[in-house]
Amino acid sequence: MELSVFDKSLLNLLQGNIPICSRPFAAMAQELGTDEGTVISRLRELKAAGYLRRIGTFFNSNNLGYAGTLVALQVEPEEIVTVAEAVNKYPEATHNYEREGKYNLWFTLLTRDVEQEKNILAEIGNLRGVEDMLRLKSKKKYKVNVQFKLN
């Protein structure tokens, strides 16, 4: 499916913010010079065709009171699979990547509070093959919003 000029303006608008009102797609339609039904049916088609990874709400986890950390582990190469699988079992571990270098397993941890983070990291630190752990906290997020402008 080729994207039309209309599709591209629709997707660019949708990558910004959906209006917070009773009929948001009618408000978007007005901006695009079309009607509500066209916007909704075209969005359903674009979604079915796989152009949209997700339509929804993206939260700022810190402001919901969650604690976030990037954790780097130095793992003995022969234990990397068991350690990676053990990390994956925690719902609080949202991203987990094996990477090149001394620190070879990198994951992000998001917990309700710092206490839970400490407990989980203590468990992971005790896994066989884990030789070192870095806890890397962020204070300033300079760029986090992934947008691809379609021309």
């Binding site: 990558q15 009773s22 700022n60 810190n62 969650y66 604690a67 990037l70 990676a84 997020k141």
Partner: protein, 158 residues
């Protein structure tokens, strides 16, 4: 750690919001019903969440399959503290950089700025790292190429 001051009702609203956004005429009404509150209360609470920066964005993320970036690397940079904001601003402006944030250092780990770089090939990724280095004058870095993605999920809150 800032306190979030969320009530049980707020948590219900957040739970409803983190599901896929309904594509219908009155999407917020559908979500409000799931949260067990009126549409009016739901809308006013969502506006407050945006104002309080609890919500970063309510919209779409496109699949960047058509853009074709297959290669990604996390690059950790060692930046003098007084240049952090300035260097981060330059790196963030680069179109190949999707994420840029600071992190604390650790013993034997002096890197304090991280960029996620997207490219088509490893060579292209190296070239972008070189370009960021030239643009900012920051030499000391670790390019952490991903070998395997073990997990990539969206957080479920509450």
């Amino acid at each position: 750690m800032c306190s979030s001051n969320l009530t049980k009702r707020d948590e219900e609203i957040i739970r409803a919001l983190q599901e896929e956004f309904p594509l219908c005429e009155e999407p917020y009404k559908v979500l409000a019903e799931r949260a067990g509150v009126s549409e009016e209360e739901f809308l006013s609470r969502v506006k407050e969440f945006v104002a309080e920066k609890k919500i970063r964005k309510l919209g779409a993320v496109l699949r960047h399959r058509e853009v074709g970036f297959k290669f990604n690397a996390l690059c950790a940079w060692e930046v003098p503290a007084e240049r952090l904001d300035d260097v981060a601003k330059i790196m963030s402006a680069h179109p190949a950089v999707s994420h840029c944030y600071d992190r604390n250092t650790a013993p034997n780990w002096n890197y304090n700025l991280y960029t996620m770089i997207h490219a088509h090939t490893r060579e292209e990724c190296d070239a972008i790292v070189g370009e960021l280095s030239r643009l900012t004058g920051i030499q000391s870095r670790q390019v952490l190429y991903s070998k395997k993605e073990w997990k990539k999920t969206c957080m479920k809150y509450f």
